[in-house]
């Protein structure tokens, strides 16, 4: 029983972090119809920002992640505004190619700048754990989990309740109409991409604090984001949260009760099952379902 509880807690904590990684990916896909294959490299770039601030200036990673968010927002905004926007009207294949190329560039850039050595952001407390009976709750992961939830809710509030958020949503639904209403679609798109990159960067710093990373880890995060986004329902931010928690739990339970390393295939098995029975994802239809392509 305590084994089960331990696995469940660990899975939930891991799932929260996965959700924060995937929510931006899902947002960009939902609003702009861009599958951003460079998303994982944003996560790792964020981890390096947090790591650099920590190793050079001793800044705590939970503060460093705010800097990572700002840096990655700028990177995301500029990339979208001056590069991806050039091909935003092209078929999805073109944006796939472009973001794939960006991913290669960023990953290799990090290889050259930071080397391929494994890094980890060291803190005095992140490896400690609280004992609840026989179950341990790791402090670093708990903090990361709480922050991931708060940020996801803040994002939902931003999109649903502020003018900026509504303009993003409107652009996602019908770009032509949004333009006629005076919304600058380019700006809205760049903002969306910037926000997604910022969240990935924050998550990256936390990944670096509770685990280890190097540039080659980027591909794995892109793949997980893809699975979680599709699982939850594209462009639906609560969907990413539910999808992330589910994948975290399934992997933890699978690791505990399945023999060998079946867990490798588990996330994709869940994805297939959900797509068979609920093709629009776990959390209903996305808000952009009224999308008009112009």
């Amino acid at each position: 029983m305590s084994q089960f509880l331990q696995a469940t807690i660990y899975g939930l904590l891991q799932g929260g972090l996965l959700a924060l990684i995937a929510v931006g990916f899902s947002l960009v896909w939902g609003v702009m119809n861009v599958v951003n294959l460079a998303h994982g490299s944003f996560v790792i770039l964020g981890a390096y920002v947090g790591w650099k601030l920590n190793s050079a200036m001793g800044l705590d990673p939970f503060l460093g992640m705010l800097v990572a968010a700002v840096v990655l927002f700028a990177v995301g905004y500029l990339l979208q505004r001056w590069l991806i926007n050039l091909v935003i009207n092209g078929p999805i294949f073109i944006t796939l190619l472009l973001t794939f190329g960006l991913d290669l560039l960023i990953v290799q850039g990090m290889n050259i700048t930071f080397s391929a050595d494994y890094r980890s952001i060291k803190t005095a407390y992140a490896g400690d754990s609280l004992a609840l009976g026989s179950v341990r709750v790791p402090v670093g992961r708990l903090l990361a989990f709480v922050i991931a939830l708060l940020v996801t809710f803040a994002l939902v509030a931003l999109v649903n309740r502020t003018r900026t958020g509504l303009s993003i949503m409107a652009t996602g639904m019908d770009r032509g109409a949004a333009r006629l209403m005076g919304i600058r679609a380019r700006h809205a798109y760049a903002l969306t991409f910037g926000i997604a990159a910022a969240l990935a960067g924050m998550a990256g710093t936390m990944v670096g604090t509770v685990g280890t990373f190097n540039p080659a880890a980027a591909g794995g995060f892109t793949l997980l984001s893809f699975v979680i986004a599709v699982l939850g329902g594209l462009g639906n931010m609560y969907g990413a949260l539910v999808g992330g928690l589910l994948i975290g739990l399934v992997e933890a339970w699978g690791g505990q009760y399945l023999p060998g390393t079946w867990v490798n295939a588990l996330a994709f098995a869940v994805l297939v099952l959900v797509l068979v029975f609920r093709p629009s994802g776990l959390v209903g239809r996305a808000y952009y379902s009224a999308r008009q392509e112009v």
Binding site: S2, Q3, Q6, A7, Y10, Q14, L86, V87, N89, G90, I94, L97, L98, F100, G101, L102, L104, L105, Q108, N111, S115, A116, D117, Y118, R119, S120, K122, G127, D128, S129, A131, R136, P138, G140, R141, V210, G211, T212, F213, N214, P215, A216, A217, G220, E251, A252, G254, G255, Q256, G260, T261, V263, N264
Partner: protein, 413 residues
């Protein structure tokens, strides 16, 4: 407007494809010259310079480069009375076995018959079958999985100790040095072929030593989350946890064992991870007293005419690359050295003659003894067991080359 946006997307496609090509492509196309006619000996090396193994690939390349420098600094290898300079041609295999195997074919098309292996068992295994088919010869620097050598290949020679020794040597060190003796041993392993062979070798050695061995727990290769495996063994209270891992999983075991409160009474031992400087750097004081096994340390005994002793080798790596030598450097240099010495012994660069010379090579070196059994494995060199003490990996076993006494139990704070 329409035509403008079309031309823009065309530009982007071109840009994107160029990016892809730049990322995937390989460099260093050169026509080769395998003979000694022009005074150089072409050697092909497919390297994992990008992708998942980029870190180890870079170290392997350093080892090959240093070997080339050292041999050429003496005017070249002495082959059949002529001084022949080495010309190692590097190509990037992006850490993929298929590509590594294709590159071996490409070298063959260019007439390059002598090959230095890529990094890791998966790449080397893919290369070995191509080598066999093409009649090339390969000196293997980092493919330790015993599987490679169970296929009857005659043209692949590994300078390093076989995979079964990695965890087994830690068990042997514990059996010989640990007081009090542990009773129960748990082995956690990554699920790639190499790690599983390491785990099997460790389990066999532990049973032979009379320990109670728990069933091996597997986790995905390359994961940074090993919590499931740790949770499973926690209830059985093992005295020693042995990880058959690479760096990333090795770091995860120590980190997450602390998070989950898994504290064996004896200590932790891990293959591959603890000897690398990154291990102690990443984990800080949590790395203290973790045991590890290494193909080579700078206290390894032996010397040769190109590199001198292990200490000389360490100084050369430090001078050229500005870091302490990693055993990945050393095993790469040793593979290159074996190939050079075999060519010198054969007095020829002909692939068949070099193969025969490798098969009968029996020499001392900075890397320890180099001699191959009939499968092509170097079973004549012991592995070293190291322990992280004050942030540094020091040799504790075998005792005749030990730099410090083993601290036991390793988990006592």
């Amino acid at each position: 407007m329409r035509s403008k946006s079309k031309s823009l997307s065309l530009v982007a496609v071109v840009a994107a494809t160029t990016l892809v090509a730049a990322g995937c492509g390989s460099k260093g196309e050169k026509t080769a010259d395998s003979g000694g006619a022009s005074g150089t000996l072409a050697i092909g090396a497919s390297m994992s310079l990008t992708g998942a193994l980029a870190r180890e690939g870079a170290l392997t390349k350093e080892g090959y480069e240093l070997c080339q420098d050292k041999v050429n600094a003496k005017g070249g290898a002495d082959i059949g009375g002529k001084k022949v300079k080495l010309d190692i041609q590097f190509q990037d295999d992006t850490s993929k076995p298929d590509t590594a195997a294709q590159l071996v074919d490409q070298f063959n098309d260019k007439g390059v018959k002598l090959i230095l292996s890529s990094y890791g068992s998966a790449n080397t295994e893919a290369q070995a079958s191509v080598i066999e088919r093409n009649g090339q010869v390969m000196a293997d620097s980092a493919g330790a999985d015993n599987k490679i050598f169970e296929k009857g290949y005659k043209r692949t020679f590994a300078v390093l100790s076989p995979a079964t020794e990695y965890a087994a040597s830690i068990i042997k060190a514990i059996k010989e040095l640990a007081q009090p003796q542990p009773k129960t041993i748990a082995i956690l392993s990554a699920d790639d072929g190499f790690s599983k062979t390491v785990a099997e070798g460790g389990a066999a050695a532990a049973k032979e030593a009379g320990y109670n061995v728990l069933p091996t727990q597997l986790f995905p290769n390359g994961t940074s989350d090993v919590s499931s495996a740790l949770t499973k063994v926690k209830g059985q209270k093992p005295d020693v946890i042995i990880g058959s891992v690479h760096l990333v999983e090795g770091v995860a075991i120590i980190k997450q064992a602390k998070e989950l409160g898994v504290m064996p009474s004896g200590g932790f031992g891990e293959s591959v991870a603890p000897p690398t400087p990154d291990f102690a750097k990443t984990l800080g004081k949590d790395a203290e007293n973790v045991l590890g096994s290494s193909q080579w340390t700078d206290s390894t005994k032996g010397s040769d005419k190109y590199f001198g002793t292990a200490k000389d080798y360490a100084n050369d790596i430090n001078a050229k690359y500005g870091h302490a030598p990693d055993y990945h450097d050393a095993e790469a240099s040793a593979a290159c050295l074996a190939l050079v010495m075999a060519a010198e012994k054969a007095g020829s660069t002909d692939a068949d003659k070099v193969r025969d010379a490798l098969a009968s090579l029996d020499t001392d070196s900075f890397f320890g003894h180099i001699k191959f059994n009939d499968k092509g494995q170097n079973v004549y060199k012991p592995m070293s067991v190291i322990q992280v003490q004050n942030g540094k990996a020091v040799t504790v076993w075998p005792t005749d080359s030990a730099e410090a006494k083993m601290i036991w139990p390793g988990t006592k704070q």
